[in-house]
């Protein structure tokens, strides 16, 4: 749950301006969808928010504080591919964040701590519909199941912001509908601010509280390099959506977990 602020951000690679004059305020708990033509800088925008790339000009603030210049546990991410670790089973993938958090040297938990984390991971796996697949390697899962796993893995660590880069782009429509339901539930039950890049407009409007479109307003070949994409549309969804907790126990986030004391 964090507010994000882009303050006149530019991104250039050499002479090539990718994004320009990006000024944006995202409320805590928002679900922001980012659309735009291929190559217009959506991934670049997300990478800056991750801390993987730095703006060439301007700055990004999270809750009023300048963004850490490298990825950290405050910002979870799901990519279109390669989001889960192929050498870990489903359960191990979900456990990983917790193990890294509490075991600085070995990166592994044992005994009671492991048991507690495993129970929690199993509950989360059931939540995302992966019960019974705990011991499989990701390569044995379908694309939709891999993305569910990636979501569970990210949520388990309890990030404040969840970044999604075309996470469901490669999935069949039916599977995509299922995973939209899951995504919505995760957003309601955790305390996430979500930023999702998608090229599917209907997906954007179905899930988001706010949809932003990037576009280059000058796209003649000789101008392409000299003008970056800007925010061309900024639509609040009506009727206004807000995250709401369901009556059931919310999905725990790693942040305020009792296990923290055992670190």
């Amino acid at each position: 749950m964090s507010a994000i602020r882009f303050d006149d951000v530019w991104k250039e690679y050499g002479d090539h301006i990718v994004l320009e004059r990006i000024t944006l305020e995202v409320a805590p708990r928002a679900f922001l969808a980012l659309v735009g033509p291929s190559g217009c800088g959506k991934t670049t925008f997300l990478r800056m928010l991750l801390g993987e790339e730095r703006p060439t000009r301007g700055q990004i603030l999270i809750d009023g504080v300048p963004l850490q210049p490298e990825p950290d546990a405050d910002r979870g991410v799901v990519f279109q591919r390669y989001s889960v670790f192929p050498h870990l089973t489903v359960l191990q993938n979900v456990l990983l964040g917790r193990e890294l958090q509490h075991s600085k040297f070995l990166g592994r938990l044992f005994g009671a701590a492991k048991k507690a984390a495993t129970d929690e991971a199993m509950a989360l796996l059931a939540e995302v519909g992966l019960k019974g697949h705990e011991d499989k390697y990701p390569s044995a899962l379908s694309g939709g199941m891999q993305q569910r796993l990636a979501l569970a893995q990210a949520v388990m660590r309890g990030p404040k912001i969840l970044l999604l880069d075309e996470p469901f782009g490669a999935l069949d429509p039916g599977i995509r509908a299922d995973i939209h339901v899951l995504m919505k539930r995760l957003w309601n039950e955790t305390e996430l601010t979500v930023v999702m890049v998608t090229h599917d407009l209907s997906e954007a409007f179905r899930l988001a509280t706010r949809v932003i479109a990037f576009e280059r307003n000058r796209d003649r070949p000789e101008e392409r390099e000299r003008y970056g994409a800007t925010i061309s549309r900024d639509l609040e969804i009506y009727p206004r959506r807000t995250a709401q907790l369901r009556a059931v126990a919310p999905i725990r986030s790693g942040r305020d977990d009792p296990a923290e004391q055992g670190a």
């Binding site: 991750l50 993987e52 490298e70 990825p71 950290d72 546990a73 910002r75 979870g76 991410v77 990519f79 591919r81 390669y82 989001s83 889960v84 670790f85 192929p86 050498h87 990983l96 964040g97 193990e99 890294l100 958090q101 600085k104 040297f105 070995l106 990166g107 592994r108 390697y137 390569s139 044995a140 893995q153 990210a154 660590r157 990030p159």
Partner: protein, 272 residues
């Protein structure tokens, strides 16, 4: 049907695989018989029975002078050198490969150094090794290490760099430190690739072993074949060469098996 679509059945494939071996054996026997018919004392292509006799003497009879089974003691000496050298190379390649592949600063400092040293012809360094380390075991082990290590480091650091960037980002968003990334993300994924790298280095490792033993040694498989060369003892040399080949093949086979059993997830990753 196109040739590229013609697949032999399982059974046929086994026969086809055996064929070249059988042909070579037949060719040898025919050649040997022809030469021996002309000159019964010919040493170049000894008869199978002569070789069997030599193997019996070398492998199964105590050598009066040394009080040991020569083939066994040669094998132990050679494998000892080879395996200690490969253990050193493997461990060092793992550490340096991961460090160079994962840390841009280490890559900047060591990357070109490793590239350059991997171009030094190891055999050209052998005299230096003999001078510095003497003629004992150390110089031979050092030669094999020098001959295999730079290539393995280069290979492994490239494998680390090939890991999808997304994985490293993902690990950071799960709160991993550099050390934790090395330990839980990179190391386990590099181990099966290390086995590939090691398999590729088996050939060079044997080459440097035999070379070192041929030049200065008093034991070992390479020592033996170069010793008996003076007497044109093809009946010993040929079985030794076959034995060395078999050992190398078995090591390769064992590594492949280990890779399949210990890293069941790896096959599908590689298939991508």
């Amino acid at each position: 049907m196109r040739l590229i679509n013609l697949r032999p059945s399982r059974q046929l494939a086994i026969y086809m695989a055996a064929l070249p071996f059988v042909l070579v054996a037949i060719g040898y026997v025919l050649g040997s018989e022809a030469r021996l018919a002309e000159n019964p004392n010919d040493k170049l292509l000894p008869a199978l029975s002569t070789m069997a006799q030599a193997v019996k003497q070398m492998a199964f009879q105590l050598d009066a002078r040394t009080g040991s089974y020569l083939m066994l003691s040669d094998t132990i000496a050679s494998l000892g050198r080879l395996l200690s050298a490969l253990a050193i190379s493997t461990a060092a390649a793992l550490v340096f490969g991961i460090v160079i592949g994962l840390l841009p600063a280490a890559n900047a400092m060591l990357g070109s150094f490793v590239s350059v040293t991997s171009m030094v012809p190891p055999l050209a360094l052998l005299p230096i090794l003999f001078i510095v380390m003497g003629l004992g075991e150390n110089s031979k082990i050092a030669l094999i290490v020098i001959g295999t290590l730079p290539g393995m480091i280069r290979d492994l650091s490239m494998r680390v760099l090939e890991l999808p960037r997304e994985q490293l980002i993902k690990a950071q968003t799960l709160g991993a430190s550099s050390w934790q990334i090395a330990l839980r993300v990179v190391l386990p994924q590099i181990l099966p690739r290390l086995i590939d790298s090691l398999r590729l280095q088996l050939g060079p490792a044997w080459l440097f072993l035999i070379a070192a033993e041929a030049i200065a040694s008093d034991s070992g498989l390479g020592y033996r074949i170069f010793l008996v060369r003076r007497y044109l003892a093809m009946d010993i040399i040929i079985p030794y060469v076959i034995w060395i080949t078999l050992l190398a093949f078995l090591m390769d086979f064992a590594l492949r098996l280990l890779q399949r059993k210990a890293f069941p997830w790896f096959a599908s990753v590689r298939a991508e």
